[in-house]
């Protein structure tokens, strides 16, 4: 199903939105034990939203651009009255008192939210193995990880248990799982989508973005969510163009940059798929140019200083006072803070809080945090210079396809290093996405990453859409 096919069914009265929602929920609940992609289902909310769509259609009103479409929301994005856990023991029973702006806009557009998806705890991880409620399995190969942190949101699309989903991306958490599961995932320009109601991980890097089967559907979902929100002072005022109108499949003459640095350390099965994809773009009439992004090899170190520093500050609020969990063992106030945090956070969250606290602590600020902000400026400058020569950049998303569950859990540094091709886009704040690029000889999906300049989502979508059609 796509947004268009559902719209046709509704307008031709083949099925009602309520029927579609009931079937979607039933199918998703039956299939979920295979992957553990959903943490919570929302039947009441979904059926109420679906009935509202049916009423609009009956009254001859426009039911909205996402009318009747079953949508899953990553469990770090707040949904009023619907449990939102961040896949953490800390928030196991947390019921948000308000909706995220992205959620409000989706429901206003007729979207039907059917449930909340599993992810790495507080969106920290690249394999979805850091969830307090068990890992997600990759629908393409059940013994492999779906990627992370938005593993559940990618898996539900691959599994067909939602038509659209929302993820969040701080260092690759939308593109990498999209690549691993063979679906489309988009990280928009920083500030393009309001983060009001997104649980803060690293505020200078966090994004909300769509997952879907097709490029067109991601463009439509972004269209609904994008634009200024007065509840998020970092949301951009730049006007939102019509993304879908530009998708004509013609990218002849477009200049595409291939960063040399994105091919260092790339597994050969992944490299072959990417090379073939580049040839496809050439056949579509693109001009392929090799470019340099010379600071790429510094990006992972830079990223893990900035994101952990910001995370250690953002996660300070989980102290046993306001957010559901308080250690039963607590005596004094200080003891309550410490025991609550020790019991509530998993190993990866603790690692990042520790690293972030360390790099911000007295005597280390200049050597780590300030240094990382300067290196971040160099990474962003690399892209600014590249976009003087090319319209878009393509490359791999991840150095390798989906790996086996448990394969990397004991080596956090190696897990961090595999974020090399995704963190640079987040550091620069540019739009970037993963579109299915092909498969390895073992049948594992490989995503093609497409990056464009700030607020140039249209160019990014045009390249990905033309590639998808080819």
């Amino acid at each position: 199903m796509t947004i268009d096919s559902i719209r046709t069914e509704l307008l031709e009265k083949k099925r009602s939105a309520e029927e579609i929602a009931r079937e979607a929920l039933e199918f998703a609940e039956a299939e979920n034990p295979k992957t553990n992609a959903y943490l919570t289902f929302a039947p009441e909310r979904a059926l109420a939203a679906a009935r509202a769509v049916d009423q609009k259609i009956a009254a001859g009103e426009d039911p909205g651009p996402l009318a009747g479409v079953p949508i899953a929301i990553k469990d770090v994005i707040l949904t009023r009255g619907l449990r939102t856990t961040c896949a953490s023991r800390m928030l196991e029973t947390y019921i948000p008192p308000y909706d995220a702006t992205a959620v409000i806009r989706i429901e206003q557009a007729g979207g039907v939210i059917i449930g909340k998806t599993n992810c790495d705890e507080f969106a920290m991880g690249s394999s979805n193995e850091n969830s307090a409620f068990g890992p997600v399995r990759n629908p393409v190969a059940l013994d492999r990880v779906p990627g992370g942190s938005s593993g559940g949101s990618a898996a539900v699309i691959a599994q067909g248990t939602a038509v659209l989903s929302l993820g969040s991306d701080t260092g690759g958490s939308i593109r990498q799982p999209a690549s691993f599961c063979g679906v489309t995932g988009v990280t928009p320009t920083y500030g393009r989508v309001s983060r009001y109601g997104l649980t803060a991980f690293a505020s200078s890097l966090d994004h909300i973005g769509p997952f879907s089967r097709t490029v067109r559907d991601s463009a439509r979902l972004l269209q609904v969510m994008a634009g200024r929100d007065e509840m998020d002072s970092t949301s951009a005022v730049a006007p939102v163009p019509d993304y879908v109108a530009a998708l004509d499949g013609n990218i002849r003459g477009m200049k595409i940059g291939i960063p040399k640095e994105f091919f260092d350390g790339l597994a050969s099965d992944t490299g072959d798929v990417i090379q073939a994809a580049i040839q496809t773009l050439q056949k579509l009439g693109c001009e392929i140019r090799e470019i340099r992004l010379p600071h790429t090899s510094y990006a992972v170190g830079c990223y893990y200083i900035i994101c952990t520093a910001e995370a250690s500050s953002n996660l300070a609020r989980y102290d046993g006072v306001r957010y559901t969990r308080r250690s039963a063992a607590a005596g004094s106030l200080q003891e309550m803070y410490r025991k609550t945090r020790d019991e509530g956070f998993g190993a990866e969250c603790k690692r990042r809080i520790m690293l972030g606290t360390y790099v911000l602590s007295a005597g280390y600020y200049d050597a780590y945090y300030l240094k990382a902000q300067k290196v971040r400026a160099l990474v962003a400058r690399d892209y600014a210079q590249a976009f003087e020569q090319v319209d878009a950049i393509v490359g791999p998303v991840s150095p390798h396809p989906a790996f086996k569950l448990g394969e990397k859990v004991d080596d956090p540094t190696s897990m961090y290093l595999s974020d090399i091709y995704t963190v640079t886009g987040d550091l620069a704040g540019i739009p970037c996405m993963s579109v299915p690029g092909g498969k390895t000889p073992d049948g594992l999906p490989v995503g093609l990453q497409v990056l464009a300049n700030h607020f140039n989502e249209t160019t990014m979508f045009r390249v990905a859409d033309a590639f998808e059609r080819a």
Partner: protein, 99 residues
């Protein structure tokens, strides 16, 4: 080693985390691994580089201010609904100052 167990203990205190002895040992190894990689940043001369603390400055300064219109805030009951312990409109915590 980039970091010693002693320092990990101090950081855990700053971060309000009560780590077990096993966790301290493991944490020291893990932090050492990533800090060793991070050391690579010192290869770069960043003397004249402005730190990037904001991503984009695309808006006029005042564009980030909303209209000064009164609106209903989250109510007291909603704000307290997720508190583990509350009473009389407040969050409750263990006794801080002894009598």
């Amino acid at each position: 080693m980039k970091i010693a167990e002693q320092e990990v203990r101090r950081v855990a205190e700053l971060a309000n985390l009560a780590l077990t002895e096993d966790e301290i040992v493991r944490m020291t190894q893990d932090m050492d691994g990533i800090l060793t990689h991070i050391d690579k940043l010192s290869e770069l001369d960043t003397t004249n580089v402005e730190p990037m603390s904001q991503v984009l400055y695309d808006a006029e300064e005042t564009a980030t201010l909303r209209a000064d219109v009164e609106r209903k805030p989250l109510g007291n009951a909603d704000a307290l609904a997720n508190a583990p312990v509350s009473g009389q409109g407040y969050f409750k915590v263990p006794l801080v100052i002894e009598k």
